[in-house]
Each structure stands twice: as C-alpha cells, then as structure tokens.
Symmetry: C2
Amino acid sequence: MDKAAFVAGDWGTTALRLFLCNDRGAVLAQQDGPGVSARREGFDSLYDSLIAGWTHRHGPLPAILCGMVGSSLGWAEAPYLECPVSPDQIGSATLPLRGGQIRIVPGLTCKNPFGAPDVLRGEETQILGALDLSEGLRSGTHLICLPGTHTKWALLQDSTLLSFLTAPTGEIFALLCNHSVLVRATTPRAQDDAAFAQGLAEVLRFPQAQILHRIFECRSRLVRGQLPAAAGASFLSGLLIGADVCGAMQVMSKPRLDGARICVVGDAKLARLYAQALSAQGHETQIIDGRAASIAGLGHVYRLMSAPEAKHARR
Amino acid sequence: MDKAAFVAGDWGTTALRLFLCNDRGAVLAQQDGPGVSARREGFDSLYDSLIAGWTHRHGPLPAILCGMVGSSLGWAEAPYLECPVSPDQIGSATLPLRGGQIRIVPGLTCKNPFGAPDVLRGEETQILGALDLSEGLRSGTHLICLPGTHTKWALLQDSTLLSFLTAPTGEIFALLCNHSVLVRATTPRAQDDAAFAQGLAEVLRFPQAQILHRIFECRSRLVRGQLPAAAGASFLSGLLIGADVCGAMQVMSKPRLDGARICVVGDAKLARLYAQALSAQGHETQIIDGRAASIAGLGHVYRLMSAPEAKHARR
C-alpha cells in the first residue's frame, strides 16, 4: 500500500470530507463527517476521532483543511486574504493549529465588479487545484465558474486571482423548490432536459430582463397548460442558471478573455448544466471535477508547506 | 344605521375578508376568515357561518367575491378572461352561485411582455376599484403597480387592461428572510430606511445587472463590516424592489406613458417603498390603498349586477 503522507480536508457548511493522501496527493482513504453549521465547538475531538484509524496505522499526520472550518463559526478563524492573490500567497497564509501540524487555508475577499465586498472560503482551494490539474489555465486571462449553492465566478490572469462574484443561484433554486407555490412541492424532481433547455432559451430571448420577472412563469405556464407540473423545477433551473451565466458574462468578461474556454469546476451534473448554458451563449467550456479540484488544491498547499524552505519559514 | 345592501368579499390564498356594504359601497361591518389554502371544501358553510349575524339582521344578501376563491382550489372555478378586457367585460363575466345571489369575479390571463402566459386573481378587482377611485386613470395610458407576495404590473389604455406582468418579489424576499443564511434569521426586522435606500441606490448604479449577482452582498457586506446585521433585510428589500421597478419600467413602459404618474395600489407601507423606488427612477406616483381598491372594485361589480338591464340579462 502507498505510504500515507497527509490528510486533506474539505470542511464546509454542511459536510466534512477527509481524505488520506500519499505525497503525490492520491487518495488512499476517505472519512466523512458533519459540516460546520452542525456544531459550535468540539472541532478538535471530532477531527481526532475521524482520523483515529489513520493515525493508529500511520502515526501523526499533517493536515491541510479548507472551507468554512476557517470562518468565525469554524474551528479557528483564518482571516480573509485580499485579491489580487497568487497561489503562493494563498499557500503561505495558512493558519497553523497544533504547532503547524494542521493548517487551514484562508478564504478570500475582493471588490466584486460592482465595487462591493465579496467573500469565499473553499473555492480558493478548488481554484488552486484547477491550476494544478489544467496547465492551460496558468497563463493568460481565464474565467472560472464554480457552480453550487453560492456559485462563484473567478477571474484569473497568469494564475493570479483578480476578483470574483457570487450568485446564490443554487440556494434560490432550492428555496423555491422546497417552499414556494411556484414550483409544486409534490413535483418529482427528475431533471427534465427539454424544460431546462426551454428555460435557458427564454432567458436568451430577453437577456436584459430581470429574472424576477420570469420566475412566475413556472406557475403561470403550468396553470395555462404550457408546462407539465413535473417539469417546473427544470424550467426554473434553466431560467436561473441562464440568468446567472448571462449576467456573469456581462460583468466578468470585460477584460478580454481572448476566446479562451470558460472553466467550470463542480460536480458533474451541475457543471454540465452550466456548460450547456455557457455553450448556448457561445462560450466553449472545460469541466473539472469539483472534488478532484479540492483534493488537488489541498495537495498543492501541502507541497508548499512541506518544501524545506517553507518548513523553515513557517515553523 | 345605513341600510345593508350587499357583501363584498376578498377571499385570497391566505385570508378572507368579508365586508357588509351599503348600496354606495361604504363598509358597515367586517368579518375575517381563513384563506383558500387552508381548506379544500366547506366554502359554503364557512361563508354562511361568517355572515349569519348579518343575514339574521338584514335578510338574504347578495355577495360579490374575488380572489383565489374563484380558482381551481377555491369554491368554484371562474375561468380566466383573456386580456385585453374592459371593466364591463369583467363585470359581466362573473360566475353565479346559488342562482346568482353570490357572484365570483373571474381572474385574468394575458401574454406578458415576453410572450409567456401570465395570470392574476383578485388584482382585476383592485384595478376596477382604482378606476372608480381615481378619475384620472380612466383615459389615456397608465401603468398600475400592485405590490405584494406576487407583485403585478398592469398596463391600461382608456380603462382597458392590455396586459400585465408578475414578479414574485415579496415571496422571494420572505423566503430569503425566513430560510437563508444570507439574511440572518435572528435579525430584527424593523424597517431600516437608510439600508433600504442603500440597496435601491446600488440597483440604480448598475441597472443592467442581474439581481442574482447582488443578493449575496447582504451577507458579504455584513461579513466585511459594511452593513449592520439588523439592516440586512432592509438592504435586501431595497435590492429586490429596486430590481422589480427597474425591470418592469424597462419592459412595461414601451407604450408611451405620456409622463403620467404611476399608480401604486397596495398596503400603505409596501406602497411607500415602491413609490420611493419609482421616484428614485424619476417617476411620479399616486398611491391608492389596496383594501379600499378591493372594496371599490367589488362595489363596482355589484352596481353592474344590480342595474335593471343587468338583472334581466343575468337571471
């Protein structure tokens, strides 16, 4: 069996995923646990109990953690780094716990394209990972889309993260599906590709429209017999993802992207929907698996930390 | 005491308000009851029990009802009328119950500015009432805004309702306040005028932006110390109402409104916020109380029904 080298941890709001990795960042084992929102304390003991089997076999292991574990509600607060930031700056600003055996990757803050503050935690690590996994991203100007509950759009130039923008697209979709009369709660939620494409096409017909003025169509089209009840959620998904993509391309692509492909980092199903929306608006895409990007990013930080000069500087 | 002439009923999704009126439509007494969503049957007996005191004193009374009571989930389904419709057409298309003693005002359907079906129930009666209450609305082109859970924007020409547009602005605001991490659930909900104005101003600085890309600022501004936690809901309200007004004026005001004031029909507090958003975008407004408009509209239909020729035609 490969020699275990470190623990890579993605500890978000709703879930904790710990990966036992070798020194090349390959995953040897996985342990899941509860997210940050489920607790206010006991991060220490929870972490130790989850990796007990690994330390029993391999001895003490260094760990790199990212996500909400570094927020004011997490284990310890790793202050936000200000954009623009390079991968090395992120890697050198980790918060050490237990004398540096555990390191928490800091979140980032920036001014969004509207001049307002924006923040992220966890996605910085996925972006580091995407840069590791895709050499083509490392030079030139690139837009990375990280879809999810809070979708992030990040603008990179020569591997430096210039700024980003958050859209709570996934959260609003879930709120409407779970609590609104507009999408029936009894509706089966199987993805309906035709309804998704229809919602997307509607947004593209009127790209300047406020999405607020299209959402009621989930209900009115059903009432008027123009949309099957079971297709409401997918139609809504097409509207919301279409509006997210359309609006983001308007404000994020002002620096010339030189025809570069848009990189979508996320789980396969959601990334495919965003890629479809980007493609419908004329943009080629490259998809990188979100879990792979997290692990690669944590491995990137581990290697920065364990380089001899880094050990010297950090300890 | 004034002589009771009829019962005016606004029976919506969440509430029933019955008004005992004289023949000029003045309210003599009021009874409240549960909305349509609370029941699937027993509308007959509920109605009779609520007005029992009135019929005991005044004998059998004709009634005009509007709202979701006429939907497929209500007492009896009054089919949608297609726009464009005149007040007389609405008044002559009521659904008779109990041999015409009770009449339900039909809802309306139209193609919205995007060519999609839209529907309303209850607001048609408030629009009839607004026309009764404000002579200036009866000729020329006018835009009426009826803010609420599902805000309606209605375009009138010479008293004929041409089309309308729905925005679930109030519903999305409530969903985010009640269920989202973006606006803290523990936040006191007192209106913060400065935060509302700030949200509104942000929308006006970037009128083309998708509101999806501004909502996260409720959270990120708080995290970065630029918005007090207690002000989050009001900031969100400014963003959403600003986007609703901005988007609606773009798509609804294409027919020349001839500098006419925009009429806002709703409860005082919400109407004031919409008037503020309209004013910030350079539009003068006139506010009509939503309850008064409902009662006036129901009275309008009652008078149409009780005119001698109408009695002849309807019975």
